[in-house]
């Protein structure tokens, strides 16, 4: 941890040193060249996953509500909203003057159609300029839930998905994994500063960093384990709060108390601190929680596995374990977990199959709103939907504890996400969920 802190201080110092220039207003123009590690088969907000991809899709597709730096819902395509007592019926007033990138105005009926498609369980309809949402059970955090990318407002035009955002897609080559975005001059929030964004997807960060050093890329997504070595030369670096969960996911529910005990033993056997330090170069925080501590405030209460707490399994057991074969760090992590488990009397066999008993997965934090994040994580891990008695932190804690007690998921480490960028990239901001805010980025003359 100390090493990573030193790293962050060095990163901050470097950023400070290069920002000792005068504060200039943003410049218009130029093309921002971006490198993202994950590949994608479709440019669709409903299937976006990693922070890098999410950062690009939210330039094109927008939601009724957006979360601010502190995870609080703020009006976006909706100008305001009200909820009726009981938290089951919501009214969203649409913002005036918003148009899709093809010039078609966004009205309540279009927005309602988008939300109906994404949420078949909700009753969504338009009433004048209002979008009405009715749910069968109280959903106190519905406004925050509407900030999820899957709730983006879009329409199809000759097969292409059209959004309302500050950029439009002009080219999307799935074979070359190359995306071109063009500034939307009519964007309701003001045209972005850069004229266009060129993004290369599906290339590892070392290749992308090399392109950056050759002056062919401006901003590159960096894997947690590469943060330290990414920080050389003329590169600047921004790292997020821990926002990507590395966890073991059991593909089926525990069927007995004995199985719960075995899973507990596995959870406590994993030396997550060593895993974080050795495999991920201290780019994360060991965790026993589903939500990171900076989001919940109480995550430290759940014990992360460590050498000190390592128990023996009540009896021998053999499980199969799979991981993303395209992710070298995940493979190394799986090997270490295998050794830790063996010390606790649990045999893990690494397999290349979707039918493994356990999967080692990385899951991006879905939201900077704690209840929405827990909701979405539960959905992703096939856990029962959490229930919140009220909006207090005690209620959140109870809901998270109930999910963890199922032992369907064993959280291991929360990892930071990071971007390296050239000194001419200005106005870049990392959001709490690890995604990048690119719509305010502008390009200056590069400092030597």
């Amino acid at each position: 941890m100390k090493r990573f802190n030193s790293l962050l201080i060095a990163a901050a110092s470097l950023a400070w040193a290069t920002s000792m220039t005068a504060a200039t207003r943003p410049h218009y123009g130029g093309t921002l060249r971006v490198g993202v590690q994950t590949s994608a088969q479709t440019f669709d907000p409903t299937v976006s996953g990693t922070p890098g991809l999410r950062s690009l899709t939210q330039l094109v597709f927008e939601t009724l509500v957006k979360l601010d730096d502190r995870g609080r819902p703020q009006p976006w395509l909706a100008a305001s909203w009200q909820v009726e007592p009981g938290n089951q019926r919501w009214h969203f007033q649409m913002r005036n003057g918003v148009v899709f990138s093809d010039g078609i105005p966004v009205d309540a009926s279009v927005a309602a159609a988008s939300l109906r498609a994404a949420n078949p369980d909700w009753k969504v309809f338009a009433l004048g300029e209002l979008v009405m949402i009715e749910t069968s059970a109280p959903v106190p955090n519905l406004a925050a839930e509407l900030s999820q990318p899957r709730n983006s407002i879009s329409r199809r035009n000759q097969g292409a998905l059209i959004g309302t955002g500050p950029f439009t897609v002009t080219q999307w080559d799935t074979t070359k994994q190359h995306l071109t975005l063009q500034a939307n001059d009519e964007y309701w929030g003001g045209r972005p500063f850069t004229d266009s964004i060129e993004a290369d997807l599906g290339k590892n960060d070392r290749d992308q960093l090399m392109l950056m050093d050759l002056g062919k890329s401006d901003l590159v997504e960096v894997a947690p384990e590469d943060i330290r070595r990414a920080q050389i030369g003329n590169r600047l670096l921004k790292a997020s709060q821990p926002a990507e969960l590395l966890a073991l996911f059991f593909t089926r529910e525990a069927r007995s108390d004995d199985e719960i005990h075995l899973r507990n033993a596995l959870a406590l056997s994993i030396d997550s601190a060593a895993l974080n330090t050795v495999v991920f170069q201290a780019a994360g925080e060991p965790t026993g929680a589903l939500l990171p501590n900076w989001l919940s405030g109480y995550g430290f209460v759940y014990p992360a596995g460590s050498v000190a707490t390592r128990p023996r399994a009540p009896h021998p057991v053999v499980w199969t374990l799979s991981c993303d074969s395209a992710d070298p760090a995940a493979r190394i992590a799986a090997d270490r977990i295998l050794l830790n488990a063996k010390d606790a009397g649990i045999t893990l066999q690494i397999v290349n199959s979707d039918n493994a008993d356990i999967r080692l997965i990385k899951m991006a934090l879905p939201s900077a709103d704690s209840e929405t994040a827990l909701d979405e994580l539960a959905r992703a891990f096939q856990l029962p939907a959490p229930t919140f008695a009220d909006s207090s932190v005690s209620s959140l804690y109870s809901a998270e504890t109930a999910l963890l007690q199922t032992r369907r998921v064993i959280p291991i480490v929360y990892l930071r996400t990071a971007v390296a960028f050239r000194s001419n990239v200005r106005g870049l901001k990392l959001l709490p969920d690890g995604s990048w805010q690119l719509d305010n980025v502008w390009l200056s003359a590069e400092t030597p």
Partner: protein
Amino acid sequence: MEGAVYNSPNLEMTLPSSRLCLALCLCILFSQLSFATDWHDPVTQLAAKITGSTGPGVVGLEINNRSSISSADVEEIRRQLISTLATSGVRVWQPDQAAANIKLTLSENLQEYVWVAEIQAGASDAKVLLVSTPRTSFAVAVANAPAVTIRPTPLVSQTDPILDVAIAENNPPRIIVLGRTAVTIQEFANQHWSIVQTLAITSPTPLPRDARGRIFLRKDRLFDAYLPGLICHSTNSAPLAMSCAPSEDPWPLQAQGLSAFFSPARNFFPGALTPGIGKQNSAPPFYSAAAVPRANYSLWIFAGLDGQVHLLDGINQQVLGKVHWGSNLAAVHPTCRPDALVLADAADSEPAESIQAFEFADREPAPVSPKLPINGGITALWSTPSAESAIAVYKNSSTGNYEALQLTLDCGR
């Protein structure tokens, strides 16, 4: 807003006493904002939960701080908690002599302080109790100073962007705030500013990102507001109204005199001047400008798009190569000095910036004040029409709010 009445500006009424009244009101307002954090409520809630869990008796207490709460506040919380627990019969004592031990962690999340009490009684699992209270934000740091000092007087703070503020020195004090979507008239009464009227800005096209704007008080009507590609005129009689229309008219750079055309879809002045500076009808594209009057002419200083500072005196144009200022300049002519000074911004460490005053004895600027640190990025810096002060707007990096300051210069402190 119905029935809101606005008194038209009357230059005869701009007496020192009204300024003093405004300053005093503002000082009272903002001195009241700087109270210490009150921990009474969360301490009381936590003590009640602990008492409900342990019942009366002797407990051990260990406090760990994982939050941004200061160590002085941590001690205050400890003192208050021990005292409140005692009133319920729970006495804090040595852990080895206690029936239950409480490990209290002061933590935080994005919005709240979260206090987590883990209560261990005997061999059973620890019980976890939580309370939360909203996190506080921090005010702007103000520099102490010698020689010329920039004195910031907070005017208004709001979540929506502020493009400019005009101070209408009436009784009671009023300000006119130009935003992206509306002009608001605000009145200072009962120790705070209240919006007395909101006038919506209607624009046929979206304003550009980093939108800029100016608002000027007028003699024949209350105000004119200039926005990119748009001009809005108010009426002069109650009920106050405002009409906006597309316009590429030049924006005044000072109250009477030089104006410059503003790019309708960008954030800068392309450089065309009217009526011009002496024989010069254009300047390099620029973000802001300041005039320093001389005996027979005015020296104009421009913050260019090229990052350079350009000087125009009506005949010659000069680039100040060694000066690295930001995009925002404003001239201020303090009553305590014979010459006008230039306020300029500079980034010290993002996202914070600072403003400093410079004199132009010849053609080279020399700093005459300490830097005034600003807790966020400066989004606007304009001279007031009289040039006796300037209006600075910044986005507070702690609160995310846009905050407007009136900057005046004090001499000899």
